[in-house]
Subunit: 374 residues, 2 copies
């Protein structure tokens, strides 16, 4: 049916594999105007990246010298395509390609390999379950730009699997990680455990533009708690805020201090927006917040394992793609719907889409003219 293999592009932030990769990773991150808007960004971005490099290298040193996100994504991808070939023989063979936003393998690398492999039908599959313009949106914008840069804008027919916050297989797998996390507590403590679902925060300016992220985080957590019979106290909080602007709260770090002050000694933290271990689970949650929790008097602080190599999660990934391919749509209706406050004319495109889709008209005001360009 299809010409060549069906290419599944697994898009994620990525992370430095070695300590030498930390500086280029940070430079790419701080130069991304779709995530961070700085004055004099071309100069200030690298400056901030360089200043933070040593500290972040130290963090990576403490988690074993690099990010495991590529290894996990590749394991997930292998499991996914193996299942997909069985689930969807009409679109087989399936090949996966990792496209990280700020580090190799980048979108350019993925696209070139897809061309070499003879792919013509491709799915851009975000590995962020909940949609945000800062994560999935930025990765997709970069994917289309990269395709143009390497002269492959016409090569592939695309569809986009842009969000899956309540996919039943994903929720089942998440609920299983929470059960595994709860099992780390002594049997007599398990009823007392507070579950803190922690997600990466966003600046409030992004939220105020109409970003879907907090609503989709809420939907994911509700489904996971439903699977668990609402049997525990729980809340959602947000981690990793930096800099002077106001971010979406409650802050995970502050929540831990406050729970300690309320004499809660059993706390399980769950990364609800991550599918693999990386610096924000292994260092921020385990080491930094582990220390915060310890000092606050939370004697039993554990983290639910990330989905990582869990076979049930590979089942979910394969089911998601098989369903998407069978639907034949270009994307969800909401992907084409630019945030009401969007000022980025590049947003919400699909390059050479497999099916028609509607994209909100672009409004260009003088304010937009400065943002972003590449």
């Amino acid at each position: 049916m299809s010409d060549g293999p069906t290419g599944i592009v697994m898009m994620n932030l990525g992370g430095p594999k070695t300590l030498d990769d930390v500086n280029p990773f940070l430079r790419a991150l701080f130069e991304d105007r779709e995530i961070i808007q700085l004055p004099l960004q071309k100069w200030l971005g690298p400056f901030i990246a360089d200043r933070r490099t040593k500290k972040i290298q130290q963090h990576y040193q403490e988690i074993g010298g690099g990010s495991p996100i590529l290894a996990w994504t590749e394991e997930q991808g292998r499991g996914m395509v193996e299942r997909l070939d069985r689930l969807s023989p009409a679109t087989a063979p399936h090949k996966f390609y990792v496209a990280f936003r700020y580090i190799e393998p980048t979108s350019e690398t993925a696209l070139k390999q897809m061309a070499a492999d003879g792919v013509t039908r491709a799915v851009a599959f975000t590995q962020y379950p909940q949609f945000s313009c800062s994560t999935t949106g930025s990765s997709l914008n970069e994917l289309w730009r990269a395709a143009r840069r390497v002269g492959l804008a016409d090569r592939f027919t695309w569809s986009v699997l842009d969000r899956w916050p309540t996919h039943p297989g994903f929720i089942d797998a998440m609920a299983e990680t929470v059960r595994q996390g709860l099992a780390k507590f002594a049997p007599e403590d398990q009823d007392d455990v507070v579950i803190v679902f922690s997600a990466h925060s966003l600046p409030l300016d992004v939220i105020d533009r109409g970003d879907a992220y907090p609503a989709e985080i809420g939907a994911s957590v509700h489904e996971v708690m439903e699977r668990l019979g609402y049997g525990h106290e729980y809340l959602i909080s947000y981690q990793s805020d930096v800099g002077p602007v106001r971010w979406l709260g409650a802050s995970t770090e502050k929540v831990l201090v406050e729970l300690g002050a309320k004499k809660r000694t059993n706390v399980l933290v769950v990364g609800i927006a991550f599918t693999s271990d990386h610096i924000e689970t292994l260092h921020e949650l385990d080491i930094e917040y582990g220390e915060v929790a310890h000092e606050a008097g939370i004697t039993n602080f554990h983290r639910a394992p990330a989905l990582n190599g869990m076979p049930e999660f590979q089942d979910a990934l394969a089911d998601l793609v098989a369903g998407h391919l069978a639907d034949g749509v270009a994307c969800t209706p909401n992907y084409g719907f630019r945030c009401p406050g969007c000022v980025n004319p590049q947003c919400r495109n699909v390059l050479k889409p497999v099916a028609p889709y509607k994209r909100t008209a672009v409004t260009v005001s003088p304010k937009n003219a400065q943002y972003p360009s590449r």
Copy 2:
């Protein structure tokens, strides 16, 4: 086999029935330290209330001279208890009592009537589907205080139905109101409609303490959209923010202006946190935002009807209470779980609970001493 009727206390904000009720309503609202903390509140609260009275009276004048929320709540209550008597004969007869937070019938009135009717088993049933300390939390705190004030603290055995954001019957009814809203557009426009789910906003300080509200709004909306097959573009925004502090966004009003600027001409607004029409649907959404939408170029602006007298919603209310009575629990696990940043020692109580429940320990710091008292 309860002694006397089972009392179902339907708790809500309430609204002035007549123009003369506007001032006492506003005074009660602005004196509530659980919602608004003002310096010199006992003086400044009434001052602000008095200054706003004329404008708010004008708004009520424009919607027919008063709030219909009591009439709708009574109709919903009648439908609910009639169904409950059939669904749960073991706890029959059931009687409903309206307890508004800032206007008659207040908690005191409800409690006295319950005593007169011989009620001993009572359910405090919030009419806010999604939990917030500012709404359901404040109403419950007031209910327990009122019981003590009128000498009825020992009279009733209580349980609390504290949230129901994804109850299937509620979601079905909400999805039906959205369908009815979509039917207001011309057939050829229906695919183009953007659905704006609007909920009352909260100050960010409340969110940062760990309030569950935005997550539960997200969960409700996701379920409604699932019922509708995700067939439309949609987003969540927040209305009714006032004053100088920063509130949770995106702002409904701003979203409408921005959608207009993006040449979206078909917009359906849906009150996802309201179950009856009141000033914020009939005036703010229909009249004020209707004007905003018109000026922004949204030529087809409609609102989905509120649940009001819809029989399916009365089915949902009865099903909720019947399930709750059968479970025999005092509340959800999360009701006992005070927000990590909570500074209100009164929060999350259940007076004379029907079953054991756990409440997070109170931490009293010097900062707490000033907040709130009554």
